[in-house]
């Protein structure tokens, strides 16, 4: 660079320095932190009741049905009923908490409280807000999954290493249901419409996914269909320490596909709503 060029720059109009804003990753964290702070403030109503749901199922069916069912054989394993549903209830906790936080939480922040629009007035872009919400719903799924897992551990139905082994699956499952939930938040026009996927997708999935009985008991067509449900894939993966299934890489790929497809769709749908 010649000295002449330097001179021109120095004598030119004063240019204000470009503003510095934190990185995109920090932005996502900061949005996530906002949601976490609100959760901390309302934890008594937001934390305790939902977390108890899978635990009640576990206790009610585990103890209530077990004497009628006795030990049974599945996948070449002799199992008690409690041991069979333990991992499934971890998956159910992940599914319900991840989905509900994303569907209802994101919908409220998007359409009622207009939190997204408020955040957009700060040094945050759509990407940071979207993935902040996604990360938060994932966190909620993780919390539910891990706590239910601890209860299963305390009941002696899974080993500590078994539980540690399931944590990556709990994380992936939380991302799947966060993605599905945010997509629902983006697709519905009113909060009541969230009932549609809840009753037509979530509840049937909750019962048909090999949660309370092996899917092999179902008629062949139903069983095959059910095996594509994300909860079925997640239940199979979390159950791996108890029932080994050599087709687990398919479940893993299925969950990855569900996550990527629903999240990418949600991103597009909500982007169009926010920026029109």
């Amino acid at each position: 660079m010649t000295s002449g060029t330097n001179e021109i720059q120095m004598n030119g109009p004063e240019i204000a320095p470009e503003p510095k804003v934190p990185s995109s990753l920090y932005g996502i964290y900061s949005v996530w932190r906002r949601h976490a702070l609100i959760y901390k403030r309302t934890w008594l109503t937001n934390f305790i009741p939902p977390i108890t749901e899978p635990i009640f199922y576990l206790l009610a069916f585990g103890f209530g049905l077990a004497p009628m069912v006795g030990e049974f054989s599945v996948g070449g394993q002799q199992l008690t009923y409690l041991k069979f549903i333990g991992p499934a209830m971890i998956a159910v906790g992940v599914c319900f908490q991840g989905f509900f936080e994303a569907a209802y939480g994101s919908f409220i922040r998007l359409k009622f409280q207009r939190t997204w629009h408020g955040l957009l007035t700060g040094p945050l872009g759509f990407r940071e807000i979207f993935f902040g919400d996604f990360a938060w719903a994932t966190t909620r799924g993780m919390i539910a999954g891990v706590i239910t897992g601890i209860v299963v551990l305390l009941l002696g139905q899974i080993t500590f290493t078994g539980l540690l082994f399931t944590i990556p699956f709990i994380l992936l499952g939380s991302m799947v249901f966060a993605g599905i939930g945010i997509l629902v938040a983006g697709l519905v026009k009113t909060i009541d419409q969230i009932n549609v996927p809840v009753f037509l997708f979530l509840i049937p999935m909750f019962t048909f996914s090999g949660t309370f009985f092996p899917r092999e008991n179902l008629p062949r067509a139903m069983s095959v269909l059910a095996s594509f449900l994300p909860l079925a894939e997640l239940v199979d993966l979390i159950r791996l320490p108890i029932i080994y299934d050599p087709t687990w890489p398919l479940d893993l790929m299925g969950l990855l596909a569900w996550t990527i497809i629903t999240t990418a769709l949600a991103y597009r749908v909500i982007f169009r709503q926010v920026f029109r």
Binding site: A16, P19, S30, V31, R34, I38, R41, P123, F275
Partner: protein
């Protein structure tokens, strides 16, 4: 500091903003005045990257918007029309949490929140949640949130809509303080008193287009003149004849008539109108409402 060139926005095959160009420099208040639905909010939305233009260019310094809007917002403050405060947080926490988005640590965030609470006069409401604040106080909190990053440019989108007169005055004072501190302001409003009082320069907007621009005084004198007369109960023929003869501007207005007073014919015009035994006759200084009526045939509200 901020320039926009030929902005267009199309919603459902309707152009709601049509070819808007503007420029705002530091420490001036640029007012955008227009009736509801003129495209003011959409225009402002495009300027800070909240709405993606169908066409046109926006630059904030060397940053292109919307591509680099996130970075630009590091030095921009935005008061949106709706209150999108966090209902679960107190005044203090609303500010401190938002400060964190700018990369301030907990201690810096708390300190900045405290400074802003003092600056906008919310000292007695630190612990109140937004739903416990009056409309005026809520607007002040939104303003405080917009000032966290010590912005060089602030957008105020209809900031005093729905506020009582006292709250509006208090808010205006804060806006004047901002300008005095060297901050540029873009203000949209459909209140002519607000526009006239605050703006250094005004853009008049109607149906997505800028119809005129200038200082408030310039616009009034250029478009309408110094004085106007409002009257009722005068035969239309007489008014038309008088306007044609003196070169005055005449327009029906509510159930009345509004006519500009041409200085050289002033005495004659007033005398003629008085002799027609009007049921109402008011002579007053022209204002921006008259400018708007003249230019667009529309009222502001």
């Amino acid at each position: 500091m901020l320039t926009a060139r030929d902005l267009w926005k199309n919603y459902n095959n309707t152009d709601v903003v049509r070819g808007v160009s503007l420029r705002v420099d530091g420490s001036e208040i640029l007012g955008i005045l227009g009736p509801n639905g003129a495209g003011k909010t959409t225009t402002v939305g495009m300027l800070y990257g909240g709405v993606i233009p169908s066409r046109g260019e926006i630059h904030f310094g060397s940053l292109a918007i919307p591509a680099q809007a996130r970075q630009a917002r590091g030095a921009i403050g935005i008061v949106t029309q709706d209150d999108n405060l966090d209902p679960d947080f107190s005044t203090f926490d609303n500010l401190a949490t938002f400060a964190h988005h700018f990369g301030m640590n907990t201690r810096e965030s708390r300190q900045r929140a405290e400074e802003l609470i003092e600056q906008v006069g919310l000292e007695n409401h630190r612990k109140h949640r937004p739903d416990e604040l009056s409309g005026g106080l809520k607007r002040r909190l939104v303003l405080a949130r917009a000032l966290i990053n010590r912005p060089r440019l602030v957008f105020l989108d209809e900031p005093t809509t729905g506020l009582d007169p006292d709250s509006r005055q208090a808010f205006w004072k804060l806006v004047m303080d901002l300008k005095a501190s060297g901050c540029g302001v873009i203000l949209t409003t459909h209140y002519m008193d607000e526009a006239q009082r605050l703006s250094d320069r005004l853009l008049l907007m109607q149906q997505g287009e800028i119809v005129d621009e200038g200082t408030p005084a310039e616009l009034i004198v250029r478009t309408v003149g110094d004085e106007v007369v409002e009257c009722a109960g005068v035969p239309e023929g007489l008014l038309q004849e008088l306007a044609a003869r003196t070169g005055a501007w005449l327009r029906p207005f509510g159930g009345n008539w509004l006519m500009s007073l041409v200085p050289v014919h002033r005495e004659e015009m007033v005398a003629t109108l008085r002799s027609a035994a009007p049921s109402m006759l008011t002579i007053r200084s022209a204002n921006l409402e008259d400018v708007f009526l003249r230019l667009t045939g529309d009222k502001l509200e």
